[in-house]
Homo-oligomer: 331 residues x 2
């Protein structure tokens, strides 16, 4: 295991300290928790947005905390759901009187623990609503998940629901727009290499030198097919077609594209993939409204990428381009 | 070689196409060249800023093209200087009548080719000035370099000189502030793994499973020492101390910090390094003005990081925090 770490069991704690040290004017760590919140939280009369999940997906989720996006992010251990009490602390810290909205990626542990936290908060009189993101079209049911997994499409939910909340929308309105994003966003990923959870010390699976896996999850969960590495264009085509097959587009729609690196993929390769994704969509008469190429939802040092497509309308476009001061998504 | 590419000899061409496809409203590729320029270039009565170098360091340099930073970036082949004629095309494209300023990383090929391009431009009546960035304190003279190498500190030059030019400063004034940044910025890097140039197909050097190299260059040039991997805190301490040793700080200064990932290092690890850098500087009474943690100047999929410190005064602070619309450095 080649990593730049101290105690493998303290990586989350030390990462969060390093994150707050980098952004001291913008965020705070709630004492005794693994919650990163906006420094000015709670914001009065604004719906508070909370997301989070296992660590190892940086910049998700703390990188999306900031004006115009999340009010707080809860960090679990690496690839492990945060506990309900941690989520509960986040909810309490961001409730400015207008309720709190939870963005949950669809993993059984996350859903269970965020819902339990929501019940704890409601018992204290805080209104809570939520959305479960399930954008990964690769497989139904998987390790850790019933139904489809939530992956990089989650970032679009953070951005758009965050912008809606920043405009002063009600909890119901934030919920409605988040539901709209989830209904219109689809993703799929592929990997060239596995990754190693620091405390485990060994990769969780093995790919041969000439192999890749299509449809893999962001924790290395099994995908659709393990096969010989193909060209960037073939990879881009397979991912894009699989996403489009699930979207029922008829042409003329507008789409926001995200080509997301899983951690160790050079940006050069992501742009080579984006080139082909762009060509494929253009050939089908689909208009690209905006593109996001980079590392948004990673799997430690996994090499690979995912392609996310979001069908946008006027409302989603306005919210997507609204200002954001989150360190990992400045607009 | 596990990479997401098509023809290894076309990676730069395809990357640039994918880059323009992602940012079509903001940038353009000059026809028949590897130059990415602001879409609205040349900007009248503004000094034009040009940088560039070998590819493989993304988001450097095209990611820094945008209002408030570079007007154009010239991409060479992977780890290879761009030719003088390409740089010349960039200079001509961004000259808005106030002259053009070149930001050159100190590699023999880059310096020679950018200077030759400057001469070609001057022969056509375009005023050109330049700065050579040599922030890497690791070694004097190295493969490809006489004197110190230019690495991640270059991004601060782009940002600050770019902001100065955006304010309408003269070519002499842009040169003066760029010189000030170069005089006050120092960096050093380390690597856990090598990287593979696509057309070569094999890593350019080998590190054993328990080895790291301190002071390595962004093309894998030899560093100071190859040794057993140490802890994140020890790595952060060694890098920070080596940079500070070269800076003659007496305490009370303000510093901008950059903890830069070389390509395959999880953001988690960069923040763990930042935690220690922050602690070391605070212990010495050095005030951190701002921090930048992420991938700014990479070496394909090399695992490792660099630490850059920039001593800032009022002028540099204002310019560092000025607006930038460059995709890789939004402010």
């Amino acid at each position: 295991m080649k990593k730049i770490v101290n105690d493998p069991n303290k990586v989350v704690e030390e990462m969060l300290q390093g994150f707050v040290a980098a952004h001291p004017d913008d965020v705070k760590q709630l004492p005794g928790t693994t919650v990163i919140a906006r420094k000015d939280a709670p914001v009065s009369n604004k719906v508070g947005l909370v997301s989070g999940g296992g660590s190892g997906h940086e910049p998700a989720h703390a990188g999306y905390v900031g004006e115009g996006m999340l009010d707080a992010a809860v960090a679990g251990e690496v690839f492990t759901s945060p506990t309900p009490d941690q989520v509960f602390e986040a909810i309490k810290a961001v409730d400015g009187g207008s309720g709190v909205f939870l963005v949950i990626k669809n993993y059984t542990g996350d859903v269970m623990n965020f819902e339990m936290a929501a019940e704890m908060a409601e018992a204290e009189g805080i209104k809570v609503q939520q959305v479960v993101v399930n954008d990964d079209v690769a497989v139904e049911d998987s390790s850790f998940t019933t139904g489809r997994r939530g992956i990089a499409g989650t970032i679009f939910v953070h951005k758009i629901a965050g912008a809606k909340a920043a405009q002063g929308a009600s909890l119901d309105e934030v919920k409605a727009v988040a539901d709209k994003v989830v209904a219109n966003v689809r993703s799929i990923g592929m990997a060239l290499t596995p990754c190693t959870v620091p405390a485990a010390g060994e990769p969780s699976f093995v790919l041969e030198e000439d192999e890749m896996e299509v449809g893999i999850g962001i924790h290395g969960e099994p995908g659709i097919e393990r096969k010989k590495i193909t060209s960037a264009d073939d990879i881009a085509t397979e991912l894009t077609e699989k996403v489009l097959d699930d979207m029922n587009l008829t042409g003329g729609e507008e789409i926001a594209v995200m080509v997301n690196g899983l951690g160790a993929t050079p940006e050069m390769e992501l742009y080579i993939v984006n080139r082909k994704v762009n060509e494929l969509l253009s050939d089908k008469g689909i208009k690209i409204y905006d593109s996001f190429v980079g590392e948004y939802m990673t799997s430690l040092e996994m090499a690979g990428c995912s392609v996310t497509l979001l069908k946008v309308d006027q409302e989603l476009k306005k919210l997507l381009e609204a200002d954001s001061k989150a360190p990992a998504f400045r607009r």
